[in-house]
Symmetry: C3
Subunit: 333 residues, 3 copies
C-alpha cells in the first residue's frame, strides 16, 4: 500500500488535460461528503472523468489496482450498489470478495471489530461497507489499516451516491454554483439527501428539501437547506429535481394517508412538469417506484438522466477506489 506516482495513472494525459492544479489526494478513506473540501470533491470528479472512457472500451480494464483486494462487507442487502462497486473494482483489475455478512460468522455473535480485523489479517486492501448503523464505517477505520469506503451507513451518509448525483448535475449543467436543486421525498430517513446536501452546499448550489411534514422536519434548515412542503412552488425556479425512492413499507404507516395522496402531492408527473423550466434536470438514485414518486413517462422522458447516473456511478466508484489506494494507510502499520 505504498504511494504510487502519478505516472501510474492509466490516463495521465487525460488528467493533465483536465488540470488538477497539482492537487494531491491524501485521504485513505471515503466516509462522507460532510468531511470533504470543495477541492477534494472536484479532484474526485476530475479522476472520474478520466475513467469514464474506459467503460466504453471493448476491453474495459486498466491495471491500476492489479493485485489489490476489495472486500464488499454489506450488512444490508443491495445487489445494485454492490454490483456497481464490484464492476468498478474489476475494471481497475482488483480482486473482489463478497463477504455476505448475513451468512457469516457475524451471525455466530462475532463483533464487527473482530470480523474486520480477521478479514484484514487475510491481506486485503479496501473495505466497502454498508451498515444499518450510522457511523459504522468511521468505527471501522479505528479497527483496521485498510481503506474504508462508506457505501451507506444508516440514515447518515451515502457519499458515492451523493457524488454521482452532483457529478451528473455538473456534467449536464456545466456548473453547480448558483443552481437551485430540489430534493423530494422521505428526507428524514435518507442518507442520499444528506450526502447531496453537504456536497451541493460546498459547491455553491441552493438546496430545497420537499416532502410531507412528517418526513421533512424544519430542523433541516439548520443544515443549510430550505424546507418546504409545496412541491409546485419549489419546482418553479428549480434547475434540478432529485426524486428519492419512497419505501413501500413506510407507505402503510401513519406518515401519510395513502399512496394516491403521496402521488398527488409529491409525485413527479408530466402534468406537474408544465409549471417548470424546460431544461429541468430530473434525477433519481434508483430503483424507481414507477407511478409513485415518478411517473413512468417522466422517468423515461428527455429531461431524465437516471441511467446516466448509473453509468457515472461506475466512474465515480472507480475514482474513489483509485484515490483511497493512492493515499497510503490511515494508521502506522
Amino acid at each position: 500500500m505504498t504511494r504510487k506516482t502519478a505516472s501510474q495513472h492509466p490516463s495521465a494525459s487525460a488528467r493533465q488535460a483536465g488540470g488538477d492544479g497539482g492537487f494531491t489526494w491524501t485521504r485513505p478513506h471515503l466516509l462522507g461528503l460532510e468531511d470533504l473540501s470543495k477541492e477534494e470533491i472536484l479532484h474526485i470528479f476530475r479522476t472520474a472523468e478520466s475513467f469514464q472512457e474506459i467503460s466504453t472500451r471493448s476491453i474495459k480494464k486498466v491495471p491500476a489496482l492489479r493485485g489489490r483486494v476489495v472486500v464488499n462487507l454489506f450488512f444490508e442487502d443491495s445487489t445494485r450498489t454492490r454490483t456497481s462497486f464490484s464492476l468498478a473494482a474489476q475494471r481497475l483489475s482488483a480482486d473482489v470478495i463478497d463477504f455476505a455478512a448475513a451468512r457469516s460468522s457475524v451471525t455466530k455473535g462475532e463483533s464487527l471489530r473482530d470480523t474486520v480485523r480477521n478479514i484484514e489479517a487475510m491481506g486485503v486492501d479496501v473495505f466497502v461497507i454498508r451498515h444499518p448503523a450510522g457511523g459504522a464505517p468511521h468505527y471501522i477505520t479505528r479497527c483496521t489499516n485498510c481503506h474504508v469506503i462508506n457505501a451507506g451507513d444508516g440514515q447518515h451518509e451515502h457519499p458515492t451516491q451523493g457524488l454521482i448525483d452532483i457529478f451528473t448535475i455538473r456534467e449536464r449543467k456545466g456548473r453547480i454554483e448558483g443552481l437551485n436543486v430540489v430534493i423530494v421525498g422521505d428526507i428524514s430517513h435518507s442518507r442520499v439527501a444528506r450526502s447531496n446536501l453537504w456536497g451541493l452546499n460546498k459547491l455553491g448550489a441552493n438546496v430545497t428539501f420537499v416532502g410531507p411534514t412528517t418526513l421533512v422536519p424544519r430542523a433541516f434548515q439548520e443544515m443549510g437547506a430550505k424546507v418546504t412542503h409545496d412541491l409546485d412552488a419549489a419546482l418553479k425556479d428549480a434547475d434540478v429535481v432529485n426524486m428519492l425512492r419512497i419505501q413501500r413499507e413506510r407507505m402503510t404507516s401513519q406518515v401519510f394517508p395513502s399512496t394516491e395522496e403521496y402521488v398527488r402531492l409529491f409525485g413527479l408527473t408530466r402534468e406537474r412538469l408544465k409549471g417548470t423550466r424546460p431544461d429541468l434536470l430530473i434525477l433519481h438514485p434508483g430503483p424507481i417506484n414507477r407511478g409513485v414518486e415518478l411517473a413512468s413517462d417522466v422517468a423515461d422522458g428527455p429531461n431524465s438522466s437516471i441511467l446516466r447516473q448509473v453509468s457515472n456511478g461506475l466512474a465515480i466508484r472507480m475514482a474513489v477506489l483509485y484515490l483511497v489506494n493512492q493515499a497510503g494507510t490511515a494508521m502506522p502499520a
Copy 2:
C-alpha cells in the same frame, strides 16, 4: 463492441482446418434453435470444436473476451447451468457478475426492463438469462444493446442445452442426417425437448417423442416429431435416446399413477436395452434421478455419454459467448 477480425480467434488454424467456408456469424443474440439456420448451427459446432482443446490444458484460458463483462441474470435457480456459463466466460478471460435476481431490487418491485437497463448502464456486454416466462430473453433484446443468451425460458427453449445434445450426438455418431433420435419424458413441459427438436430437424434427424399421454400430447406432431407412448417400440430402431429428467413434484400429481409405474413404462433399464441397437447412444441433460427415468447401471454404462455432454457444455457455451460478441450490437447505440 466493435467487430473483431478473424485473426483474433485463439485457434485460427484449428478453425481453418475445420473449414468454415467463409461463413460470417451475424447474430448478436442466441435466443433459440428455432431461429437458427443449419449453417449457423454448424458454425457454432466448428467454433466449439476449436475451443474443446482449451479445457484440457493446464492453463485453461484464452484472452478472446478479456475486459468484457458477462452478467448471469437467473430468475430461476440453477447452480449447474450458471456455473457452466461462468466457467466458459472465465475461460475466455471475461469478467462474470452473478446478479441474483431473487435477492435484488427485483424483489423491490422493479420491472425486468428497468433491471436490465440499469445493469447495462454499468457497462456490461452479455446477459445470460434464465426466466420462468417463455419469451423473456426476446423481450430483453428490445430493452438493451447488450448481447442476450437464453439459458432457459419457461417451457419454450434452452438452446445451449439443445446444441450440447446435438453436438454430442454428432461427435459420437459422426453425423446427424438420417439418425433416429428418441426423446423420453415430460415433453409437454420441456424446453430441452423443444430445442432438441428444432435443431435435430434442421440437421435432418428423425425425432420421436415418448412419454405418458398426459405429458406428450399428439399436437407435437405438428412441430415435426413422431409421438408415441410405447418406449420399447420407439427404441427398436433408435440410434440415440435422450432421457429427460422427471420432476419429482409432478410425480405426486395425477399425470401418472406412481413412480413405479413410470419406471416400468418409461424408465431406461438394462433389461429394456436388450431390444435395442448395441451402439445406442444414451443422453441425459442432468441432473439424473437415478432409478427413475434412468437406471444407475445404464447411466454409468458404455452407451452413456452423459458426462461428455457436460464437458461439451463448456465448449458450446464458450462458442456462443464468443460468437455473439463478434456480431456487434443488435440496435444502433
Copy 3:
C-alpha cells in the same frame, strides 16, 4: 495437470534459501494430518514461508496457478474458511468457483458422486470440500481425477487449520519438538483438535487435552494425548494453549451446567494466566466467543497470536493449493 518443474515456483530462490533437501512432493490431495509424514509437514511449512511475503506486497499476486480452477464445495457454511481459500487461490492467479451445495442440484436429490463428477466434467482442477460427514473428502478422491483438499469433514480432520496452528507455534517458538501444547474445549466434537494432535505428535510436541469429562473422554489417550479436566494444572508447564470455540448450541444441553460454570472451569482469563509461563503462546482457531472460552483482554493481549493465525492461514492454503497441483493426478485419466 502435468508436473511442473521447480523453476516455475514464484520464489524459487527463497525456497532454496529455506533448504528443501531435494524433497519432492507427491500427494495429489490433502485429506488429513494423520496421513502426512514429518517431512511432508515441514515441506508445506517451507512452501508457506516462501508465500508469506506475497501477501504483504501491493500487488498480491503470482502467476503460479494461472488458468487453473478451484471449486469451493461447502456442504456446511463457513464464510471465513471459504474466503481464506478463495483469496489464497486468487493470489496464485487461479479462478475460483463457489458451488454453494445448499442451493444446488444437491437439493434435488443428486448424489455427492454425481455432483463431483459433473463439476469435474466442466474442466476444473481442485475441489476444496467441507462436509458434515467424516470421510467425505476421501470418498471424493475415488470419484474424480481432480485434486481434493479437506476443509473440514465432520468431527474427523481440518488439516489446513491444524497446519496453521502448528506453523504459528513454530514461527513464534522456533521449534515444535519438546513443547507442551494444551488444547482446551469440546475435544470430543473437534476436528481441529484431532488435526492438531496428529501433526503435533509427528513433530515431537506433548499434547494435553483439557475440558469437561463429557467433552474429553479418556479414550483420547490412545491417540497419543494426555487427558485432564484440571486446566490450571495443565497450564502450569504449558508453552502453548489452543482455546477451541465452544458451540453455543451445546451450552444449553446437559454437557455442562451453564456458561458461567464453563468460564469458571475452562475459560482463559487474565486471573488464570498468573500461574502460567510469561511466554505462554495463546491460539484460537476463531471465531472467538469473547467472555466464554477466552476473556476479551486475553484475546487482545501480548501473548495472543490469533490474528497471526489468520494471516498464516493464507500462506498455508496457498502452499497446499500449490503443492497438490504439482503432484499430478491421483488416478490414471
